[in-house]
């Protein structure tokens, strides 16, 4: 049961070393997909012990994850974990997120509302709640959190799903695919820490409009 932790990263040189080291310390191999960074992300990730592949141009988080998935397929990994580069997620919780895969689940979705999200800004909370309503309408999935990047997947399942959204809309597309293929999924509580760094690096809530546009225009 080979598990690969995939981290898409764009200009994350400040945090990437710490994030990679923490994951390797708890025993998981890491792939950093450098999504056209203009800083030192790739070489620092490599030095920290991760495998690194690099998009020559910035293509977006969805595109980077897909590249990571293709890497996992080519290198015979059985399961993958999606993890963030900005230090919002905790490496020690990976074990908890992959556990349901061993129990026969095909997808595991992290949830910050089952868990204790630390210090979510209120505007972010509002946007997330609206996204939750949208997801319910759109996919019929009754989730406690949506668009949480902390996920674990059976690679065999990823082979048959469609992941064509290059940017943030990929998150909704993955949920649509879970619904369409009736995948066996489970939510587990995870801790998401909103630090000043992650708030600065993360997406603005206004990006929600861009995501909706992508979802409607580009099926």
């Amino acid at each position: 049961m080979e598990i690969l932790v995939i981290i898409p990263a764009k200009d994350e040189q400040e945090k990437i070393v710490e994030v990679v080291r923490e994951i390797i310390q708890v025993g998981w191999p890491v792939l950093v997909v450098d999504d056209g960074s203009i800083d030192d992300t790739a070489s620092r990730a490599k030095a920290a012990g991760a495998a690194v592949v690099r998009h020559p141009l910035n293509r977006g988080q969805g595109a980077a994850l897909k590249t990571g998935i293709d890497y996992a397929l080519a290198n015979d990994f059985d399961q993958v974990v999606f993890f963030d580069a900005d230090g919002q997620m905790m490496a020690t919780e990976i074990a908890k997120v992959v556990l349901p895969l061993a129990e026969g689940y095909e997808v595991v979705l992290g949830s910050r509302f089952l868990g204790q999200a630390k210090a979510i800004p209120w505007l972010k909370l509002l946007t997330l709640k609206m996204a939750l309503g949208f997801t319910r309408l759109n996919t019929g999935l009754k989730l406690s959190d949506t668009h949480n990047g902390f996920q674990a997947w059976q690679v065999s399942v990823l082979k048959k799903i469609k992941l064509t959204q290059d940017r943030q809309a990929y998150a909704s597309q993955l949920l649509q695919e879970i619904s369409r293929h009736k995948l066996k999924y489970k939510e587990v509580p995870v801790t998401i820490v909103y630090t000043d760094y992650s708030k600065r690096k993360g997406q603005s809530v206004f990006n929600a409009f861009n995501i909706l546009w992508d979802l409607i225009i580009k099926r």
């Binding site: 690194v52 998009h55 020559p56 141009l57 293509r59 977006g60 595109a63 897909k66 293709d70």
Partner: protein, 110 residues
């Protein structure tokens, strides 16, 4: 009228550019025919606006100019949609190339 002269001159300029592009093989024969047909049609309509009034009444619009505007807007939106789809396809292709490049050249030890 002056406006007719200005518009016809502008369109003749467009057609001149088309001919040059076609000669330099920047556009295909079909594109050349399509675009020059459109501009020639426009010139005819500018010189003989009554044609549009005739057509307008046939299809139930009162003024010829209105008909021209309606048709133009539809055309513009159609072209816009085609452009959007085209850009989308190019974006996807770029992503594919980036992915291939990334997976082919996995970064080895420094």
């Amino acid at each position: 009228m002056l406006i007719q002269l200005i518009l016809v001159a502008a369109l003749l300029l467009f057609i001149g550019r088309l001919v040059a592009q076609f000669r330099n093989q920047k556009i295909s024969g079909w594109e050349f025919i399509g675009w020059s047909g459109l501009w020639l049609g426009a010139i005819v309509v500018i010189l003989f606006p009554d044609i549009t009034s005739f057509l307008a009444i046939k299809v139930g619009v009162t003024r010829g100019v209105d008909l021209v505007i309606y048709v133009s807007i539809i055309l513009v939106f159609y072209l816009l949609l085609k452009l959007l789809l085209r850009i989308e396809k190019i974006e996807k292709d770029i992503t594919k190339l980036c992915r291939q490049a990334a997976l082919k050249d996995e970064i080895k030890d420094n």
